[in-house]
Amino acid sequence: MKLKTPSTRGWIFAAASGAIVIALPYFLPHGEHHGWWSAIPGWWSLFGAAGCAAIVIVSKWLGHVFLQKDEDFYE
């Protein structure tokens, strides 16, 4: 099973679920404030999305320029 490009319904579902998890904390008890970022709405959503993209791109770039070698590199 390959994941396909989402349909319009898929995009709506993703947007709705994203909006709900961003909005939900405002209706739940607060309590933990680690740093300045706690004031940014949906901080951990942004962190998850941007962090994921950064990990893929930086790792791929490092692999491309430096780390990745042919499978017979040590032979």
Binding site: M1, G35, C52, S59, F66, D70, Y74
Partner: protein, 631 residues
């Protein structure tokens, strides 16, 4: 819109946003008084455990597995596997009932060796090492390889021996037992790659053991003691650093850790479960015991957590990917040791327990794939999840656990270490450990299962998995879940009293937000995350690349010298033998010996008169020397 989100422009934008946010956090951290690395912010190190000690005659738990490991050789092969599981169950029962504070001290060669030291720290590690012995034993029930069965029991005995050792000498013996028994589980796969990887593995570990022993001897010389106790941060001089390096090598702390992703993917399917559980977590235990509060470990732990994530993006071999995520997850534990507060140390111990369970589950899932398809690379797998729904589902429980999903055990243990960094306002550590969590879900929870079971259909028709393998996965999944739902079951066994509730609304929402949006971006990046038929260069390049040259100098070169010397000595001996064959040839004027068939000079006849004076001289010399010596 979707086209834009899938474009590289969107990806670059996201990267820029991330770096801006991270840079902003660093600036804010630096601007915050007392914040950041080095800011103590009321940091109080976890106290050294001092239970009321009492002498006991109880044997160390390792003895059960050592004696049992040899004893199962006497059993028929069809029941050895069951015997191994029963032995591990007996060991778990025995460890569970060890009283806090019990000590077994024996005097050997003028030193007191503490073969058994029971406290809350050794107990929690002893229990999980015994439990995983049962689970991994069930997973291995179908195989009949006696070497592996014995090696696995001895390996587990080594881990328990280290855990309950109260002195460095006992620790060292069991440390090396772990190295030599675990390499059998790599070599047992019996292919050239495993043989070579096992050779590298054992060489690296023997070097690490030698460094550790050097530190222990220096410590003994400096203090007169081999007691395995905590070094105060920065104290202990060279001895402490050598011991720390020895421990860090087994914990796979970069740059000392490439042995792990090199060797574990080459181990047998069943042996890898023991490997994933024992060596690095034993090292975490020793780091907690000896180096709590050493801040350099907090830095090393954070680096490890991210290092594993970067390499996991590039990995194509499914168990190599999981291996790099062992390094990443052990990073949380090492960071916890470095942070050093009671909360952080509890977090390190709790995460070790969680990690042993979910990582075993993940390796078991990967093992079933290898066992049933004969393939282990993402580029060769995909498209058969419907044929392995149960295995896929159980694997996903492990994936949710390692990713810190609410309901599973990673959520209740990893968060303790991260929160401990947050409590001290070590924002850099807090944010980077959270970033590593994103990478963990991305690879172990999304990339690996997608690429292995889903993704492009390669027409794979896996053979049925042995029932015992699936049962073992189910047992591990049960523990991952029950601990996540009822964290008190785990917290009750931690070294210090726990003042942490992971099940708060902000903490749950934090995890949900982060993981959901990680999934969204994964969806966009799927084409970039497929496996590639490459390997990733690690610090082992420093000894793997020069290996042919080193072999040429130290093996072939030395061999050539010996072979040449041997040939020359042989030639010289031949010439001398020919020259001394007839000494009369040396005398001028002596009649030439006439070569004929007639019996002439015979060296055998000449030997007796020649050797007799020598023999008599030697006897006389011996008698005189003996008389002088006795006189």
């Amino acid at each position: 819109m979707s086209r834009f989100l899938a474009s590289s422009t969107a990806a670059r934008l996201l990267v820029v946003v991330t770096f801006v946010l991270l840079a902003g956090s660093m600036v804010a951290m630096a601007a915050t008084e007392g914040g950041g690395h080095g800011g103590e912010h009321g940091r109080i190190l976890a106290p050294v455990l001092h239970p009321d000690t009492f002498a006991t005659d109880s044997w160390p738990p390792a003895a059960i597995l050592v004696i049992g490991g040899v004893g199962i050789l006497l059993l028929p092969s069809r029941i050895r596997g069951y015997a191994a599981v029963i032995l591990s169950a007996i060991t778990l029962w025995y460890v569970w009932n060890l009283p806090d504070g019990a000590r077994l001290v024996v005097g050997v060669g003028g030193q007191d060796l503490t073969l058994l030291r029971v406290d809350r720290l050794s107990l929690v590690f002893g229990k999980i090492f015994s439990l995983i012995g049962i689970i991994a034993g069930i997973y291995a029930l179908h195989q009949r390889d006696t070497r592996q069965q014995v090696a696995a029991l001895l390996y587990n005995a080594g881990a328990l021996g280290v855990t309950f050792a109260g002195d460095y000498l006992t620790l060292y013996v069991f440390w090396e037992l772990m190295a030599v028994s675990s390499v059998v589980l790599i070599w047992a796969r019996r292919n050239p790659e495993s043989e070579a990887a096992g050779r590298r593995y054992i060489l690296v570990h023997l070097v690490g053991g030698a460094v550790l022993l050097g530190g222990v001897l220096l410590h003994l010389d400096a203090t007169g003691s081999i007691a395995f106790e905590r070094f105060a941060p920065g104290e202990g001089g060279l001895a402490a650093w050598l011991i720390l390096i020895g421990f860090c090598l087994n914990a796979a702390v970069p740059p000392l850790g490439p042995w792990l992703p090199d060797a574990y993917p080459r181990a047998t399917v069943t042996g890898a479960i023991f490997c994933s559980a024992l060596t690095t977590k034993t090292a975490v235990y020793t780091l907690i015991r000896g180096f709590t509060g050493w801040e350099i470990l907090a830095v090393a732990g954070v680096v490890m957590a991210l290092y594993g994530v970067v390499y996991a993006v590039l990995a194509n071999d499914i168990r190599e990917l999981l291996g790099y995520h062992i390094i990443s997850q052990v990073g949380y534990m090492v960071a916890g040791v470095g942070i050093g507060t009671a909360m952080a140390v509890n977090g390190a111990a709790a995460h070790a327990v969680s990690h042993i369970l979910y990582k075993a589950l993940l390796f078991m899932g990967a093992g079933v794939v290898i066992h049933t398809t004969g393939r282990e690379k993402l580029t060769e797998l995909g498209g058969f999840w419907k044929r392995q729904k149960l295995v896929f589902g159980l694997y996903m429980i492990g994936a949710f656990s390692i990713s810190g999903f609410p309901l599973w055990n990673g959520f209740i243990s990893k968060s303790m270490v991260v929160a401990a960094a947050g409590e001290l306002h070590w924002d850099w550590a807090f944010l980077l450990l959270m970033l590593a969590s994103v990478g963990t879900f991305l690879h172990t929870g999304l990339k690996l299962p997608y690429g292995t079971w889903m993704g492009e259909d390669h027409g794979i028709r896996p053979k049925p998995a042995p029932v015992n393998m699936v049962v073992a996965m189910a047992v591990a999944a049960f523990f991952c879940t029950i601990m996540g739902v009822a964290p008190g079951l785990l917290y009750a066994h931690l070294p210090y009293e726990v003042h942490w509730d992971p099940w708060t609304a902000p903490h749950v929402m934090e995890a949900v937000q982060m993981l959901l949006f990680t999934f969204f971006v994964f969806y966009l990046f799927i084409p970039k995350l497929g496996g590639q038929p490459t390997i990733s260069m690690d610090t082992d390049v420093l000894y793997r690349k020069p290996a042919p040259a080193v072999r040429a100098v130290f093996v072939h070169g030395v061999g050539a010298v010996f072979d040449g010397a041997h040939a020359r000595v042989h030639a010289l001996a031949s010439r001398l033998a020919a020259a001394f064959r007839d000494p009369t040839d040396w005398i001028p004027g002596w009649p030439e010996r006439v070569e004929s068939d007639e019996p002439g000079y015979d060296e055998d006849r000449a030997r007796l008169p020649l050797m007799l004076p020598f023999t008599l001289t030697l006897i006389a010399f011996g008698v005189i020397a003996g008389w002088r010596f006795l006189g």
